[in-house]
Subunit: 244 residues, 2 copies
């Protein structure tokens, strides 16, 4: 069993209104890659948001008193904090200047996934796509590939370092449920639900280094049962979450 | 930039005292794989523990009153709970029958990483290796490969599903620190420390499905600066952890 992961290195800077499918197909041709029915296409959230126009000029944001007070206390930009609050359903932690929030989709992420770097201009903040699953479904349709993952780098509890995870999924079950299966010793596999979409996202993260500006990757060689797909099963229900 | 990940499918069942290096080298030869200076060898914790004899017969464990009471309350095996407590430095959560603990190494994991499945016999519990970095260093020496990761599947806060993560690292920095680097728009990359060892572990997890009994994988194609390596930098200091 062998998997090949290839970063697409020739994608141009993405602008609002661009067709990601067209640009990815053109880059793949330039790079002698084939996007076929067995290909999983992994796309960084940032270029999906840029193409969809999910970018906000901070100078248009009027911070409220709560955002202003907290930003001043921790030396952060009050307009950015206000924007993060607007993208949040719930604050999970706000300590030491760190703001970890549950996004409107339900993902738990630092700054509710709002990002300043590489926005193409100062004062530009990039939001998460409004509906990453829908973006993934559309892109899969347009590319005719096997699956699409839209990914972002998130921090974790307990462990240092960011890892690339899936926030939009199309064409593959995000979770692989092995409960009831047996290992080769004949023992029932317990508590064995694997976050396959996140493992795929992390694998792609290895060939999508931020500094190199490689915002998409192709994965070949995985065998899976096709399905509609969604990133929602990756979100632990708040009521079941011991850390929210 | 392209990475290839291959699961080793012909490793035998591992027993106490086995030389993993010898068995991995033999499996690679059988499968026409080369383990060279640029190869990252990923090994599931379970076979490292088995080879090192980090296996406990539950019938030898006399549970204390705390383990007995909690096990009875939640319908769990008191001997296993006692064993988990002995492997723990600190309990992070014990709710709803779920026991999340900080292991003696500092990893936060369900059941302190103690595992019952596929132990080769009933009543056998597999512990984490005593010193996974040392196990990784030894294996790298013996194999003459570029890096070794020892991995286990851990749950996460906020997200469903397990992912494969690194608990022992040799030959590569576990964290890739991009702070101070600039993206291609010229913006400073902030808060950008990538948990590369965990992304590699997750990538390998894709070709090491538990049910298929594939406990090792080879990764080719990654470029990195060789270093001593350790999994310790992946552990967030308890004082800095908002979720412990």
């Amino acid at each position: 069993m062998s998997i090949q992961i290839t970063g697409l290195t020739t994608l141009p800077e993405i602008k609002h209104g661009d067709s990601l499918a067209t640009l990815i197909r053109e880059a793949a041709v330039r790079e002698n890659q084939v996007v076929g029915r067995a290909t999983i296409v992994v796309v960084a959230q940032k270029i999906v948001s840029k193409a969809e126009g999910a970018v906000v000029d901070l100078s248009t944001i009027e911070p409220g008193p709560f955002a202003s007070r907290w930003a001043e206390q921790w030396g952060r930009d009050a307009r950015l904090i206000e924007l993060i609050l607007r993208q949040s359903k719930r604050i999970v932690r706000m300590d030491h200047g760190i703001l970890i929030a549950e996004t409107l989709h339900g993902f738990v992420a630092a700054n509710a996934g709002v990002d300043l770097s590489n926005a193409g201009a100062d004062n530009q903040a990039i939001l998460l796509p409004v509906n990453p699953d829908a973006s993934a479904h559309l892109l899969r349709d347009e590319l005719g590939c096997g699956a699409v993952l839209i990914t972002d780098t998130f921090g974790r509890a307990w462990r240092e370092g960011l890892v690339n995870v899936a926030i939009g999924v199309s064409g593959i079950d995000a979770l692989e449920d092995l409960r009831g299966a047996r290992d080769r010793g004949g023992h029932l596999l317990q508590a064995t639900v694997i976050a396959r979409a996140d493992e795929l996202a992390s694998a792609a993260g290895l060939v999508m280094p931020k500094a190199a500006g490689i915002p998409a990757a192709l994965i070949e060689g995985l065998k899976w049962t096709p399905s509609e797909g969604s990133a929602r099963p990756l979100i632990r229900a708040a009521a079941l979450d011991l850390f929210r």
